[in-house]
Every structure is written in structure tokens, then in C-alpha cells.
Symmetry: C2
Subunit: 103 residues, 2 copies
């Protein structure tokens, strides 16, 4: 029995080219995110050792302000940049709380 | 009248060093995300021209599978990589729908 897969139209060459670039960028993003979490894991361990709070609202406000400026310069929607940062920080804080609870 | 800002403890040098690396990585992430949206905007225009649907579940499933493998190799939580991808794709689809509605 064959699966009931709908026939797909052929992919236009221009779309294939763009998708290949997107895949390359995504590979780079994954590797950078891996490096970022390696650094924030170290921050988490340090904060747990020094009994510093997992979250630092002042640092986060400065990071958001800086990233919004960088986003505008790079042609990225600064609102998206801020949402993206909030998404990543939420994950980092979850990691830090895990580290602190295991300390 | 001065603002009632609580006194902050000095930042340990190791924390300052890690934060500087995180800031560098974030700059790179912002610039890569800007490039990614430039590519997906072109995809959006192309899809609108060719009357292709904004969303492509087969392509997205293949991207998720690929990114999970890359994440594992890079030492990034593949569950986070998948959430990250879903977050970015939601924004891209919103852009494509905007482009299609303006076409």
C-alpha cells in the first residue's frame, strides 16, 4: 500500500537557490546558539557558585537596547529582535534555575 | 531628586568576560537573522508571484529534522532548536501572508 501523498509541483530554481541559502544560515544559527548556551551555562554555574540571582533585569534591559540598535542597522525588525531575545533569555533562565536547584 | 536605584555588587571578571562573548554572539545572531529574513522575504515575493501557499509543511518537516541533527552534533538541545525554528517560521509565515495580501 502506497502512502496517499499529494503530487508536488516542481520547485522553481530561484526558490531552490533561496532555500539553500536559508539552510546555510540556519546551520550557522544553530552553531551560534550552541556556543551561546555554552557561555550562558558557564554564567549559570558562576551565578550559582556566587549565589547571584538567575535573572538580571538591568543587564537584560541593556542587551535589548543594544540589540534593537544592531537590528535597525542590519535591516532586521527591532520588534522581532526583541521578541527573539526574550525567547532565548526565557530558555537561559530556565537553565540557570535548573543549575541553581542542582547546586 | 535622585532615582531610588539599589546598589549593585561589582561584576566578577569571569562573568564580565562571558557576557562580552555572549554580546558578540548576539551581534552575529542579529546579523544572521537579518540575512535570513532578507532571503525569506524574497521567497515570499516569489511565492506570491507564483501563487504558491505561504506555508509548506513538507519543507518545514525536513528543515526541523535537519536542524535537530545539527543541534545534537553542535551540543544544542534539539528540543530547543525545534522551538527556535518554530518561532522563526511563525514570523516568516506572517511576513509571507502580508506580502501575499499586498500583491
Amino acid at each position: 500500500m502506497t502512502a496517499d501523498v499529494p503530487e508536488l509541483p516542481p520547485i522553481p530554481p530561484e526558490l531552490a537557490r533561496l532555500r539553500h541559502s536559508i539552510d546555510n544560515i540556519d546551520s550557522a544559527l544553530v552553531h551560534l546558539m550552541a556556543e551561546r548556551f555554552k557561555a550562558t551555562q558557564q554564567v549559570g554555574v558562576l551565578k550559582a557558585e556566587l549565589a547571584l540571582p538567575a535573572s538580571d533585569p538591568g543587564r537584560e534591559a541593556r542587551q535589548v537596547a543594544r540589540l534593537r540598535v544592531l537590528a535597525e542597522e542590519a535591516g532586521l525588525d527591532p520588534v522581532f529582535a526583541e521578541k527573539f531575545f526574550a525567547f532565548v533569555v526565557a530558555e537561559v533562565i530556565r537553565h540557570h534555575e535548573d543549575i541553581a536547584s542542582q547546586a
